[in-house]
Amino acid sequence: MSKSIAELGEISKTVRREILKMITKAGSGHPGGSLSSTDLVVALYFSKMKHDSGNPTDPERDKFVLSKGHACPLLYAVLAEAGYFPKEELSSLRKLGSILQGHPDRNKVPGIEASTGSLGQGLSIANGIALADRLDKRNSRTYCLLGCGESQEGQVWEAAMAAAHYKLDNLCAIIDKNNLQIDGKTCEVMNIEPVAEKWMAFGWNVIEIDGHNFGEILKAFDESKKVKGKPTMIVAKTVKGKGVSFMENVCGFHGKALTEEELAKAVEELK
């Protein structure tokens, strides 16, 4: 499923529209961090990852763990776009009986590897998957997306240490560094900088990119495959609310649905 950069850009627009539509329909959800991660996840599912929506449990698949589980509207939109379940399901987000829970449930949605939502747990899970793939000599890669506020969780650093210790070169993590968290600017709430240096000090191969530039994103994933003996962390500089002028870099859109009027405006911008 290797799409061109132009095609990826179109898919990202569609996915961003779906994210905002489903959150508005649900009346709640997390649009800001879903939009900042969109290009990264679209690049994985439509260009770099080996996966098959018709066989979501194929042991040979590449695996994706969304550690920042609150960005699940993004993952739902991507999985629907990739054919894991009908797109009509998206309108059921957060509704009683829906497979699309407020945070992702691996037992309800085909294609979801890990149930997440309590921050800080995903990278450990990704470590376990990567270790198992290596034990079974599978040619599979594991990807894990973390938030920048999420990096304040201590477990992330336990996992960082372990992945380097086990030399997990089949693991590639991405940090969606949009510099905002619920209570404000990450540097003011609890400074996580210098991020790249921290991961380097923990023994990771670190690549810094613009998280909205598909050329840089694809190149980084290719590079991560070539590095032997250590895991790769892609530090992606992103913009919270990316793609919608009035949402960009606005902390208030972390966990708030757009009104119908705002949605109409946003969808117009995303055409």
């Binding site: 042991p59 695996k63 449930d105 691996r106 037992n107 590897e113 890990a114 149930s115 997440t116 939502g117 309590s118 800080g120 747990q121 995903g122 990278l123 450990s124 899970i125 990704a126 470590n127 376990g128 998957i129 990567a130 270790l131 198992a132 793939d133 034990l135 079974d136 201590g154 477990q155 336990e158 996992a159 240490m161 372990a162 210790h165 086990y166």
Partner: protein, 314 residues
């Protein structure tokens, strides 16, 4: 009869045997493998053993990842760190995810002794029992531990296994048939019932002998499977004897005694006395001194049974 052995030893030995036949088994520990006895597996299968260091949260997550990729992970540490320290990790990454992860907590209860309250898990059953999808097993001796570990490896789903540091006398012989969700009558009796779990079973055996000398016939039930609980056996005891004494090396809040109370109060109200830590932390000391101090020894169990019978007669 088999020799006295600590349940943690039986755990390590069984894993090392199972590892031969079942290549899907992987074992994790957080720098306590010599104490939890997962080191027995590690010596035989180093490539399937992962010491994650002093990082229990990461251990639980790695175990979850292993399970996602088709492995059968056993993650061991002291029961305090294997449960309470990582309750949310177990809640979300294991129980809510309904993954085939086996959490094994050694050094449960006052049996941990000299290390004191920080290292004596006395709320772990309560914590694990509260989680949907999670089973809780607390075996009484070496044979029961072996059978429990075999059953855990063979049946998918999250399980918490609770083992103990101290050697426990053999309760069962090789003819014993362990089944999750089933308790066992190990000594029949008609006056009062004693339902015990883990290391307390051997104390309950002693207590039943003390009672016998006083002309009291106690029904002795081993309840390794705390969740799912063998409700039929509990209700039978409630109906056929004057009451139940529950015994656990754990707080009386949230453990076996609570599970029994929940069952009988809803389905067949009966007298219940709970032996265990009475809303207290333990302290440093020799295990036998601690059991005496906290009224959890055989004498205390027997006295509690007598007391229950006396009150019933009033």
């Amino acid at each position: 009869m088999t020799d006295a052995i600590a349940t943690r030893e039986a755990y390590g030995n069984t894993l090392a045997e199972l590892g031969e036949k079942n290549r899907a088994i992987v074992v994790l520990d957080a720098d306590l493998s010599k104490s939890t006895k997962s080191a027995t597996f590690a010596a035989k299968f180093p490539e399937r053993f992962f010491d994650v260091g002093v990082a229990e949260a990461n251990m639980v997550g790695i175990a979850a990842g292993f399970a996602i990729a088709g492995k059968i992970p056993f993650a061991s540490s002291f029961a305090v760190f294997a449960t309470g320290r990582v309750f949310d990790q177990i809640r979300v990454s294991v129980a809510y995810s309904n993954l085939n992860v086996k959490i094994v907590g050694s050094h449960a209860g006052l049996a941990t002794g000299e290390d004191g309250a920080t290292h004596q898990a006395t709320e772990d059953i309560a914590l694990m029992r509260s989680l949907p999808n999670m089973s809780v097993i607390s075996p009484a001796d070496g044979v029961e531990t072996r059978l429990a570990v075999e059953s855990m490896a063979a049946n998918p789903g999250p399980v918490y296994l609770r083992t103990s540091r101290l050697k426990t006398p053999a309760i069962f012989d090789e003819s014993y048939n362990f089944k999750i969700g089933k308790g066992t009558i190990i000594g029949d009796g008609s006056d009062v019932s004693i339902i015990a779990t883990g290391i307390m079973v051997s104390k309950a055996v002693e207590a039943a002998e003390l009672l016998k000398k006083n002309g009291i016939s106690a029904r002795l039930i081993n309840m390794a499977s705390i969740k799912p609980l063998d409700e039929q056996l509990v209700l039978k005891a409630a109906k056929e004897t004057a009451g139940i004494v529950s015994c656990e090396d754990h707080s009386v809040i949230g453990g076996l005694g609570s599970a029994i109370a929940e069952t009988i109060s809803e389905k067949h109200p009966a007298k219940l006395h709970r032996i265990g830590l009475n809303d207290k932390f333990g302290e440093s000391g020799k295990p036998d001194e601690l059991y005496k101090k906290f009224s959890m020894d055989a004498a205390a169990i027997a006295a509690s049974a007598k007391n229950l019978l006396n009150k019933t007669g009033e």
